[in-house]
Amino acid sequence: MRVILKRIFNAIFLSFGISAVVFLLLRVLPSVSFSDLYLNPRLSDEAITRIKSSYGLDKPVLVQFFVWIKEIAMGNFGFSFIYRKPVIDCIFDAFLSTLIIGLPALIYSFGLGIVVGVQLARKKGKAIDKLVSSFLLILYSIPTFWVGIIFVLVFSNVLGFFPPSGLRSFNFSEMSFLEKIFDLFWHIFLPSFTLGIAPMSAVARFVRTHTLKVLSQTYVKMAKAKGLEERLIFYRHVLPNALLPVVTLFGLYLPVFLAGSVVVEEIFSIPGLGKLAIDSIFQRDYPLTVGITLFVSFIVILGNLISDILYTIFDPRIRLE
């Protein structure tokens, strides 16, 4: 327990350090903030300086840094230029949207991935195994933006099953509770599915390999020699051992689902963390960029920590250092 606390503390410290680096880099970066101002050839430099100073960008870097620390202490995490509200509020709103897409994707990609992987391992060498395995690889190798666009084209444009973008229908507020739930699921189906495809195939292939590894081990052969029923061996002895390493994958993929995917959010018009992050970088909304960095890097490190913890739970031989 103490170790876990220490690691969490470490994670906070590390993500804070990363954001501090980002903060400083942003200030020395030779690029323009408020670039659309410069597009107006009639705007004088003086006016631009005035606008910048109203955001406190004219102060020395060190002063800005302390202002930022103060904002963190106050729980605002700074003030977004483009959204005109505290960074923490922006992140919270976006994180909700990301979760709505990410959680179902997480569940289905791991659920389906494990099932498919195990079945493939059982049918190793047969035509179906080879076919599905290569199919999974192809899924893995198509860029996500193509998967997304093709889904929109097929399922929404041609077949008309799902809405092509957004999280809610226009008349969402007039719906009954059940309809709302249905509407929501109806909207998140395609983006969730798209988001989960690459991880799903990765999980399936990973599980397949590890199941095969376990199957080839001596104790399994022993059990078979002893004459135990094959189903029993498989579900009692092989599966638990084979699924153990999936836990590491879980930690690694957690950020993919929780930190938001730029591509999926852009295609399906979901105001999530990934879109927020990229907008903030491209529009040079410094406080927002730094805030998201803090949040996302914390999630990544937390993901690593969770996979470590889960590992110790499932495999008592290993200890957290």
Binding site: P30, S31, V32, S33, S35, D36, L37, Y38, L39, N40, P41, R42, L43, S44, D45, A47, R50, I51, S54, Y55, F79, I82, Y83, R84, K85, D93, I149, V152, L153, S156, N157, L159, G160, F161, F162, P164, S165, G166, L167, R168, F170, W186, E266, I267, F268, S269, P271, K275, F282, R284
Partner: protein, 529 residues
């Protein structure tokens, strides 16, 4: 097996219910966009799209028309000029109310002027207004007096640029706080034909009929949605599918492919903008006028327009677009003429002395190859392709050009620092002719003279034309100025893009006016079929 069967039927019924969702009769229209608006506070908006939307919910004093010279009454019933033309008195309508029931008065305008010119707020378009308008005063609820510092041609235009905002709401927060306050984005109080029903950031904006609007005949379409889909392909798909009724800025290839469809039309009109290549004249290669002319002759712009823009552009010859009144019609675009280009280059001393296919010249005692890098921004697919076409054309002259794409902010930094050889970019022009910020010698240091062009004669003419009150005589000087630029070619003027908007046949096309002021110019007059 039984579980599988149940599962199968479940999926089947799910698909069926999804497939058969009943289409409710649509009495609304949906406008698609890849970007969201910046704010409902007009003084914080920067994008053109935001202005397009805000002009539907806020009323101005008058309606500016496509020629940028005619104004018809809106909030002001009429206006009178003083004898010396230094003062205009506006008489406001008495029946305009804000959406919260408070009357819109001249005091609102007076306050709006204060906001527009406030240094703490630093509004984007404040410069001209601060320079030209001395004072705005409300005499009573319906009478407004505007005093100018001097007489000039754009007096109505300048005061009309001021967005009129509800004083009783905006007064609550001091100007200096506006940029940091999201207060104005919640339930904005407006007075236009539409009011804001909701704004879900990055998702949609819903505009509904404003019951308090003074003209009870409008708007004809009572509900308008703006749907934001950042991905262009997805957005276009939704338009083709009929889910979106109005699609601003369709790409030329899509318009070409789906022209003649029964379900929608494409509306095309010239955009007040032009694309150019800027030759950085600090670079010794481009300091010579002959070289710049040669490069202009050596680029096949007509083919670029035909191939890349599918004919949806007009050749550009000067910094004033061809539809703008100050444009010099006598100028003909530089023809594509390789021989002439080669001749000019050799007159300028560029020869292929080492036979490597690339021209060279001795500059400052060193042999220099004719090699340079063209920068442009990565997000713009059209510019990417135009850059490659130019590269191919110039290679035929023995000029080696490389392409460097930058993400927009980095690109801007390179431009502002004059840190480039040549740049492919575009300007949206202001509606008042003034070229000092682009080509004046003084703008080299602190302005947008990014190519460091300097011609004293140009400076003198420009200074005299910009303040001239008589537009007819000003036009003569502008014509001469454009001839100078045409001769000097500080830019190679490429083309003026034509804007293509898609519009569904659900909307009566004869009621729709789209123009370079706004693609929603008369949204309140649109009617459904």
């Amino acid at each position: 097996m039984r579980v599988n069967q149940i599962l199968f039927f479940l999926v089947l019924s799910l698909l069926l219910t999804l497939g058969c969702r009943k289409e409710v009769k649509r009495n609304y229209i949906v406008i698609g966009s890849t970007i969201d608006i910046d704010s409902f506070n007009p003084y914080l908006s920067t994008s053109l799209f935001t202005q397009d939307i805000l002009d539907r919910v806020y009323l101005r004093l008058a309606v500016e028309h496509e020629d940028y010279r005619t104004f018809t009454p809106l909030l002001a019933k009429r206006w009178e000029w003083s004898k010396d033309s230094l003062q205009i008195t506006f008489y406001l309508r008495n029946d305009v109310y804000w959406t919260d029931g408070v009357k819109t008065t001249a005091y609102d305008v007076e306050y709006s002027f204060k906001a527009a010119t406030s240094p703490e707020l630093a509004w984007l378009n404040a410069e001209d207004i601060v320079r030209n308008i001395e004072d705005v005063k409300a005499l009573n609820e319906t009478t407004l007096v505007v005093k100018y510092r001097y007489v000039y041609p754009y007096q109505v235009m300048d005061i009309n640029d001021v967005w009129i905002i509800p004083r009783h709401i905006y007064e609550k927060i001091p100007f200096s706080e506006w940029r940091k306050n999201g207060f104005f984005d919640h339930n904005p109080v407006t007075n236009g034909p539409y009011k804001v029903a909701r704004w879900e950031r990055g998702q949609l904006i819903e505009l509904v009929k404003n019951e308090r609007y003074f003209d009870k005949n409008y708007p004809k379409i009572e509900r308008v949605f703006v749907k934001i889909v950042p991905n262009e392909s997805n957005l276009t798909l939704q338009f083709l599918n009929g889910e979106i009724d109005v699609l601003p800025s369709v790409s030329p290839s899509v318009a070409e492919k789906y022209e003649g469809s029964k379900n929608f039309k494409f509306v095309k009109y010239p955009h007040l903008a032009y694309e150019y290549i800027g030759w950085n004249q600090k670079n010794p290669i481009f300091a010579d006028k002959k070289v710049r002319q040669a490069l202009s002759y050596g680029i096949n712009v007509d083919e670029i327009i035909n191939v890349i823009l599918k004919g949806n552009a007009v050749r550009s010859t000067s910094p004033f677009p061809s539809t703008f009144w100050a444009h010099n019609e006598k100028l003909k675009p530089y023809p594509y003429d390789i021989q002439r280009a080669k001749k000019l280059l050799s007159e300028a001393g560029w020869r292929d002395s080492d036979g490597d296919g690339i021209l060279d010249k001795v500059i400052g005692g060193k042999k220099v190859d004719f090699k340079f890098t063209l920068i442009t921004n990565a997000e713009n697919q059209t510019r990417r392709e135009v850059a490659v076409a130019i590269q191919n054309d110039l290679l035929k002259l023995g000029v080696k050009m490389e392409i460097q794409l930058y993400e927009f902010n980095t690109f801007m930094r390179h431009i502002l620092d004059r840190n480039f050889d040549a740049v492919l970019s575009g300007w949206r022009i202001a509606t008042k002719p003034d070229l000092s910020s682009l080509f004046h010698t003084e703008a080299i240091k602190s302005g947008h003279n990014i190519v460091s062009y300097s011609n004293p004669y140009f400076d003198k003419l420009n200074d005299s034309a910009a303040v001239l009150n008589n537009l007819a005589s000003a036009k003569k000087i502008w014509d001469e100025i454009q001839e100078i630029l045409y001769e000097d070619q500080p830019y190679t003027f490429l083309y003026e893009p034509v804007r293509i908007n898609g519009i569904s046949n659900r909307i009566k096309i004869e009621t729709v006016k789209m123009n370079s002021i706004s693609f929603l110019f008369n949204l309140h007059e649109w009617e459904l079929r």
